[in-house]
């Protein structure tokens, strides 16, 4: 059986089809908000929130919840809001607050998994949560529909509020002076980022989510200058890398999450090389 026949066989399997649909949608969502996060210097918030999601998932496991996402999502959204508010007017600010919540959630999550193991193999549970393992290939139908629904909601919100998000991303003070409710939109961004993080845990695991958010955006910025150009390029690049990564993973028996991130890194290197070779940064 050659590679194409093998691929044909795999693509006929329902769980592979689910994985490709959900993976594509997650990659698209993460790239859309990735540009905003990178430009607002919020790249690390994604990392912090992903650790919070890991901690929440551990609690959901201890509580033996059938659908962990219904618990993980509100907790992550709450922490996203708290992080954003602490960044504005609190004694512990910015990166320190993110680092505290991030490592705190990671430590508590790991401790809970050890104290109240949900299966006989704790290291397997931890590994699956941190690196995704083959989570994307083992989704239930309910999880697939939940992912599709949330992804559509993220894309619709981004398209509806594109101009406001653009304004808040580039110059928050000017946006505020122009009558834009910057705080409300920052809150919206935080909520949407939390949703993306919870979704992306299925694809790459909580430790690798930041890569999915940052790499496509930074790669696109090598070649494009306008917000629209970078966003469109980032979306195409992220979806392409996710698809290539998933296909390489299922054909080559490599871990799904880290393969996608490896493809993202390769794309970043190619885009950097093109930028150095003089492919002009265009305003697209």
């Amino acid at each position: 059986m050659n590679v194409f026949q093998q691929l044909q066989m795999y693509l006929a399997m329902p769980f592979v089809q689910y994985a490709l649909i959900v993976g594509t949608l997650i990659a698209l969502c993460s790239s859309l908000l990735g540009v905003t996060l990178v430009l607002k210097r919020f790249s690390f918030i994604g990392d912090g929130l992903s650790h919070v999601a890991f901690g929440a998932m551990a609690i959901a496991g201890v509580l033996r919840l059938t659908n962990e996402m219904l618990f993980v999502l509100p907790v992550t959204v709450l922490c996203a809001v708290l992080l954003l508010r602490t960044g504005q007017n609190a004694k512990i600010k910015g990166d320190a607050a993110i680092a505290m919540i991030s490592v705190g959630a990671l430590a508590i999550g790991y401790m809970l998994l050890n104290l109240f193991p949900t299966s006989s193999n704790v290291s397997s549970d931890v590994c699956t949560s941190l690196f995704g393992s083959t989570s994307i290939l083992t989704l239930t139908q309910l999880e697939v529909w939940l992912c599709i629904g949330l992804s559509v909601a993220v894309v619709v919100i981004f398209l509806l509020f594109y101009n406001k998000i653009f304004a808040v991303t580039f110059d928050e003070d000017f946006a505020r002076a122009a009558g834009v409710k910057a705080e409300a939109y920052n809150l919206l961004i935080a909520v949407v980022v939390a949703v993306i993080i919870v979704l992306a845990m299925n694809l790459v695991g909580s430790l690798l989510i930041s890569a999915l958010i940052i790499f496509p955006a930074v790669s696109a910025m090598r070649l494009f200058r306008s917000f629209k150009g970078v966003t469109v390029c980032s979306a195409i690049l992220s979806v392409s890398c996710a698809l290539i990564g998933m296909l390489v993973s299922i054909l080559g028996s490599t871990p799904v999450g880290s393969t996608i991130v490896a493809v993202d890194i390769a794309a970043f290197l190619v885009f950097s090389l093109l930028a150095r070779l003089g492919v002009n940064r265009r305003k697209a």
């Binding site: 769980f15 592979v16 193999n121 590994c127 083959t134 028996s253 871990p255």
Partner: protein
């Protein structure tokens, strides 16, 4: 002439054991699901699907390749043998218990735990202490012996 006959004899002697081995290795004419031909990632995910929804696979002939593992219940004395497929990250593993067809003395006839083997058998479910378990019955087991 003598050389030709001798050559044929040698070829026949060489081919016969492999032909015989082939017959013992292939008791099933058709395989419904051949996990041994799938990549590790897909095989792992497929086993997960079969464990999640066993009723959909009952009666199907399954072939899988993985690592031999064994559990001996000290209370009942029952020996459970299984074939385990690790995932690509090597931290998780899925597998099936199998019941080797024929009489095989434990532990002499069995390979060492951790040996890579191929198991072909019929997928069935059974109840034990009100728990639903799955296994491959009438299994044909094959592995390469260490030299």
């Amino acid at each position: 002439m003598k050389k030709a006959v001798l050559m044929l004899l040698v070829i026949a002697l060489l081919v016969f054991p492999f032909a015989a081995l082939g017959q013992t290795m292939e008791p099933y004419e058709t395989i419904d699901l051949d996990l041994s031909q799938m990549s590790g990632t897909i095989a792992y995910a497929q086993v997960y699907q079969m464990i999640s929804d066993p009723e959909a696979y009952v009666g199907k002939i399954i072939r899988m390749a993985g690592y031999f593992d064994v559990f001996e219940d000290m209370d009942t004395g029952i020996v459970y043998t299984s074939c385990i497929i690790p995932d690509a990250a090597a931290c998780c593993a899925q597998g099936f218990e199998f019941v080797w067809a024929g009489d095989h003395a434990w532990p002499e006839a069995y390979p060492e735990p951790g040996t890579y083997l191929t198991v072909t058998g019929r997928f069935e479910t059974y109840l034990e202490d009100d728990w639903l378990y799955i296994h491959l019955v009438d299994a044909d087991v094959d592995w390469e012996a260490e030299n």
